[in-house]
Amino acid sequence: MREFFAMGGYAAYVWPSYALALIILIGNIIAPMQQRKKIVSDIARKIRRARNEQK
């Protein structure tokens, strides 16, 4: 197990590579999700406001 983490002495190069990949992969999933949520709530708020003004 320890050998696995040591990666033959190259751990300082191998694991940051995989970590960066993970960060980038997760980041590019979260960003569009948040973008969509923000747009939906923006539009919903405008609809509510328009409906309130009509009353």
Binding site: M7, Y13, V14, I24, A31, P32, I39, D42, A44
Partner: protein
């Protein structure tokens, strides 16, 4: 052929695309995760260490798929741009900007993991050889596309402007690909070509291909997610969007 053309035609309709894409995303995501896990397992645990490079070669399972994606996404982006300019299809316009950030991310990943691999192997973080330089230029091209899109206020104009920019830059892609053949570079030449037997052992090749395929599925999921968001943004005042949001709110 008729079925395909009808489907393609329907995908041009924003409302249809939004719903269908929403259903496709989970499939892309799950298959991405499954292939990723298999690729990581075979790459990190099952594949033997390299006789020359030891364990450090395992960076290949991130670096090479990321580099392949950086070029693949740019080509998809340029083709979408071309279609959107010639046929004025809104969905292909949206695909250009939807691909830009994830493409830039993969280029960045390829560059950084390349440095992390180069330092123990070649003794240097960076060298100005043909392949690294052209990949760096690719990164700047992506950034330029993102910057131009955000600088133009009218997003329909912005989408067409970046389509042209993407097309202008596509000449860089063959340069990256053939750079190791045309110049004497420090970067190693291609080990995987379409027609020859690859010079890589099969136990190392399989995880590499698994990772590459998983990244492609990831791109499919992410580009659809971003396209849906961009579509909502552009069509925010149309009836189908209003109905959709109201329907969700109830």
């Amino acid at each position: 052929m008729n079925v395909f053309m009808r489907w393609f035609h329907k995908m041009g309709s924003p409302r249809y695309f939004y719903t269908v894409a929403g259903k496709m995303i989970p499939w892309f995501m799950t298959s991405f995760v499954i292939l990723l896990l298999f690729g990581l397992y075979y790459g990190l645990i099952m594949a033997p260490p390299d006789y020359q490079q030891g364990e450090s070669y395992r960076i290949i399972y991130i670096h090479v798929p990321a580099a392949w994606m950086s070029m693949f996404i740019y080509v998809v982006m340029a083709v979408s741009g071309l279609i959107s300019l010639v046929w004025r299809i809104k969905m292909t316009e949206i695909f250009v900007i939807s691909s830009a950030t994830v493409g830039a991310s993969f280029t960045f990943l390829a560059l950084v993991t390349g440095s992390l691999w180069g330092k123990p192997m070649w003794g240097t973080w960076w060298v100005w050889d043909a392949r690294l330089t052209s990949e760096l230029i690719l990164f700047f091209l992506y950034l330029g596309i993102i910057a131009l899109h955000s600088a133009i206020e009218d997003k329909r104009v912005a989408a067409r402007a970046i389509s042209i920019l993407a097309l202008v830059g596509v000449v860089n892609i063959p340069i990256i690909h053939y750079s190791v053949e045309w110049w004497n570079t420090l970067h190693q030449p291609a080990t995987i070509t379409k027609f020859d037997k690859p010079s890589m052992d099969i136990s190392m090749l399989i995880p590499l291909l698994l990772m590459a395929l998983s990244f492609k599925l990831y791109y499919g999921a992410v580009v659809l997610m971003r396209a849906r968001a961009e579509l909502l943004e552009r069509d925010r005042n149309t009836r189908w969007v209003q109905e959709l949001i109201e329907g969700d709110a109830k």
